[in-house]
Symmetry: C2
Subunit: 200 residues, 2 copies
């Protein structure tokens, strides 16, 4: 596996970045509750006390991973939604960048999508707020499409969740060695989202 | 929570059924690797040695839960696919029963959908075979719709996975106390699956 697919800061694989990368792999493979700081130290070739010089505790690592992925999603989608493109073109870009983030950061994205629920209440609220802002961006695209008459009179919130449900589940089966690239998957999803099953 | 939502054998809440029910809750809340037999025994009000009179080990419990949900999905969908209904009507029934199983067995379905990957190779292969048969049933519905000309010339496997992706992610946000029943969610999904976003 290359460095790029494992860390959110590929250009700066410093000590902390490396710790987050290996923690992301461990949490995604064994689950947050199934991973120990002892295992993490061992995987990093560090003593536990040396590891604790860099991170306060296991939950701080979970927060850093989940928060980093949340920021990546937000920062990437905002310019798409703010652009002057049509709602359909915005949707195409949004689907592509969402899948690209999952594909490029498969392990930390898995932690973001599944293990985030194990954060304690305060941290969880912070991540929920970012998830809420991200879903709101998707709702903007759908709402604009409905207002312009490009889309059917859809239920905005439900439709945005429907699209995100499909995209998020991709982490369960996507493989960099698989038959389809993230972009090909995005194009196929987009065709289905836009046109549905029925021959009109 | 009522008994019905927690066990796959609601009519026979015997000792083993009760163990699976509580194990399902524990695994879904803390993850398989984050749950111990000690905690499970404690939650059941049993000693550990008494618990081991009923189950060989933790993995046997995971297998029993995952296998039970897999059987439930298979047994429920088979008659739908074998019926004489139109592909669209079959799809409607299939979406409804899939969501109904997730809603009624939310905790064990969560274990089935996420924790199954922690099974060891042999057990995993057995579950993968059932998952494969289940996905094949969905492909049959899509293929029949395409053959009859009711559906567009879709990519069968990808389309079936698309639908299941949406349905499976529901376990992440569905709540029995939420605004929508499983049947209402199914109807909304079906409208989106069939017609897509675009005003035609």
């Amino acid at each position: 596996m290359n460095e790029r697919s494992l860390t959110l800061t590929p250009e700066a694989p410093d000590r902390r970045g490396r710790i987050l990368q290996v923690a992301g792999r461990l949490f995604s493979q064994k689950g947050y509750h199934g991973s120990s700081m002892r295992e993490l130290a061992s995987a990093l070739g560090l003593t536990q006390s040396s590891l604790y010089n860099h991170v306060a505790n296991k939950e701080e690592l979970l927060l850093a991973i989940v928060d980093g992925v949340a920021d990546e999603f937000l920062v990437t989608l905002e310019p798409v939604v703010r652009s002057a493109a049509s709602p359909t073109a915005k949707l195409r870009s949004a689907v592509r960048v969402h899948l690209q983030i999952i594909a490029e950061h498969l392990e930390t994205a898995t932690v973001f999508l599944h293990e985030w629920k194990f954060l304690s209440a305060t941290y969880r609220a912070r991540v929920e707020s970012k998830r809420g802002r991200y879903e709101a961006l998707w709702r903007e695209i759908i709402a604009e499409g409905v207002e312009r008459g490009d889309f059917r009179p859809l239920k905005i919130e439900f439709t945005a969740r429907w699209i995100l449900s499909t995209l998020n589940w991709t982490y369960q089966w996507y493989s960099p060695q698989g038959a389809l690239t993230a972009e090909e998957i995005a194009d196929r999803y987009l065709d289905l989202f836009l046109h549905g099953l029925l021959k009109s």
